[in-house]
């Protein structure tokens, strides 16, 4: 009764400005994720770790055969792990808090930086331009098909893991 505040709380913005200006850089629930600096830095840090891992694997795996075996293996393994991670997170609950940090840091960052498409495309184009269309086709098609199978297997394992942890 007598405990009402005398003055109402000040409005967050002056009446002359519209209540929600999409160009305002203030982080609000509607701010796109890519405009939130901590999330961008999380992806950058994860991408640096993933790229370093990719470089170390390419240095450790000796070049065998007529195409880039290291990138081939990196891409297939990365597709499996990303499928597993994303499915596990998706079934764990909404994309927020710790789940969002794991998705962006490990998924978009580490695994996105670990695997690469430009190297696959350039290697395939180089093989094709050199006249080795057979090796180019095998490298390109085997990468894509095994990548899809690996991602599907990862998703299946992630779904089982999520069911088992309930």
């Amino acid at each position: 009764m007598g405990r009402r505040p005398v003055t109402p709380p000040a409005p967050p913005v002056s009446p002359s400005t519209p209540p929600r200006d999409p160009s305002t850089p203030q982080p609000s629930p509607s701010t796109p994720l890519r405009r939130r600096l901590p999330l961008v830095l999380l992806v950058v840090a994860g991408g640096a770790v993933g790229t370093a891992l990719r470089v170390l694997v390419t240095l450790a795996v000796p070049p065998t055969g007529s195409f880039d075996t290291a990138i081939f293996a990196i891409n297939v393994v990365g597709a499996f792990v990303l499928g597993l991670l994303l499915e596990r997170l998706l079934r764990g609950g909404p994309d927020e808090g710790r789940r969002r940090v794991l998705r962006l840091g490990l998924g978009t960052g580490v695994l996105g930086g670990f695997t690469t498409y430009s190297s696959l495309a350039t290697e395939t184009a180089t093989l094709g331009a050199a006249g080795d269309v057979l090796t180019a086709s095998v490298y390109g098609l085997a990468s894509v098909l095994l990548g899809v199978l690996a991602a599907a297997a990862g998703i299946a394992v992630g779904a089982r893991w999520a069911r088992g942890s309930r």
Binding site: T51, N75, G112
Partner: protein, 154 residues
Amino acid sequence: MGAGLPVTPLLVAATALAGGVGAGARFWVDGAVGDALAARRSRRTGRRAGAGAAAGAPSPYPWGTAVINVSGSLLLGLVTALALGAVVSPTWRAVLGTGLLGGYTTFSTASVDTVRLLAAGRRGAGAASALGLLVAGVAAAGLGLWLGSLLAPA
């Protein structure tokens, strides 16, 4: 890393950092492409049937991944040809090619995108996201290699 280039810890660190920047750029471009398509869809459905018409619509085609991988493949073809023509040094080829463009483009997301489209019964979109993207990426890389060879004959 190119053959013959001495691999120092500093080079690995610079390449990794460039890969992080590439991943950040991918995060930004993917979100920007997704937002632009969502805005276009809502304008269309708004004209046709009012707000909320998009509810229950199938998940959008992953154009962000396609734009990223095709543009990154074009640029890596260009950097590779410029390195063959000795315009780009082996060090810069490693930092820009293996690092920046390797981190910018991604294979794992494209594979998971394809599985999700196929699981949703969208066979045509799934084939486009796997085989169509491969053809487009290789063509873009070939275009980059060709442009680079014009700029810097080996």
